[in-house]
Amino acid sequence: MTLARDLPMAMILVLALATHVQGAPGSRLWATGGVTTIEGTAGGGLVPWALLSGYASDEEWGGTLALSRAEVDDFTLGFAGVTVNWRNRLELSAGRQTLDLGTLGATLGQDELAQDIFGAKARLAGDVLYGTYGQWSLGLQHKRNRHFTVPSAVGARDESGTDIYLSGSKLFFAALASRNLLVNLTARGTRANQGGLLGFGGDRSRAHELMLEASVALFMNRHWLAGVEYRQKPDNLSFAEEDDWHDLFVAWVPDRRLAVTAAFVDLGGIAGLPDQRGVYLSLQGSF
């Protein structure tokens, strides 16, 4: 199993890189940088949050390195990326996402779909812990397909696209059984097919559409949080129906330098193969 083979190596790499960069990872409270999404920004696994990555507060720099993998029935979705956070005001991110096509690859004559994702997220107002109305951020994700043959063949219009999103996050102290509850809402304008892995726009629609995403996480204590995520997606290609994404996750944050996330993900149908469900694992090092 590739997951078992690659993860110890990935863990060593993330830890080595994170500890190589000297200095404390910043002053924001434990786990308040969230983890890294499969698109490279601070959030949960599938949904961006209004939090900026890492632990930099208003006088500090920081950032993260992350490696993630979701193994669902017929595909493997992978992500590797880096972020920097300037003074908890601006987060910049870059990463590469791959979708190993598995058995479908032989039919298509291509092993994987891949895209590069460049992101920027600015904190507009508020603070997730102390703001009466929580924290609000505006983000961009510019995505570029590395191979456009398959997306083009299934009807995608463009090989690059840019998502724009507005996120709000708020932590409610002692909200449920005296545990802290984090609530996140994101509205995203997008024309990406399967997040962009199958290109942008299609025969059904070429325009940006508004999609809603939400997640809720409960902190058991400052090291453990568990939650659910939902991400609405467009359906631009008539060759196969595209479904919304869901996941149930647990994250372990032993200290500021490391976060480990495990999840059950449900990616729905992908390229005509239905019910893509499986396990997601992500490692994040902060500096």
Binding site: E59, L129, A174, R179, N180, V228, R277
Partner: protein, 149 residues
Amino acid sequence: MTFIRLISGCFLAVLLTACQTPVTGEAGAERDANLYDALGQRAGIEAIVEDLMYLIVDDTRIAFQFRGLDVNRFHSRLSDQICGLAGGPCRYTGRSMAESHQAMAITETQFNALVENLVLALERNGISTAAQNQLLAQLAPMHGDIVAP
């Protein structure tokens, strides 16, 4: 594996309902009295504040803000304040939060550092996660008066 979707849905519904439940009124007052006990009453709170002060002195991010302070007075004022907020029989008699922090130009970094040290002091004294969160819920609204605009 539709159970994932089912469980997600139920979990979300439970959490959202809990979100909307107000935590004020009589239930709030009762919780506060319990919080005073959970913090170990006056003696427990004094021990927490003492540990907090040791952590502050060792923290280069904020130690300079406390230099020249009357240590005993600070200890008793902060203990009074936490005791009162926790529903205990104490009253804070010092200046308002806005007034006492006005000239200090406190940054978010410094505020976060103090909260971190408070959580560590609570942990050192064996205070439960529930009681820690309840105390933070009482203190969090002061952020606006403490951090410089």
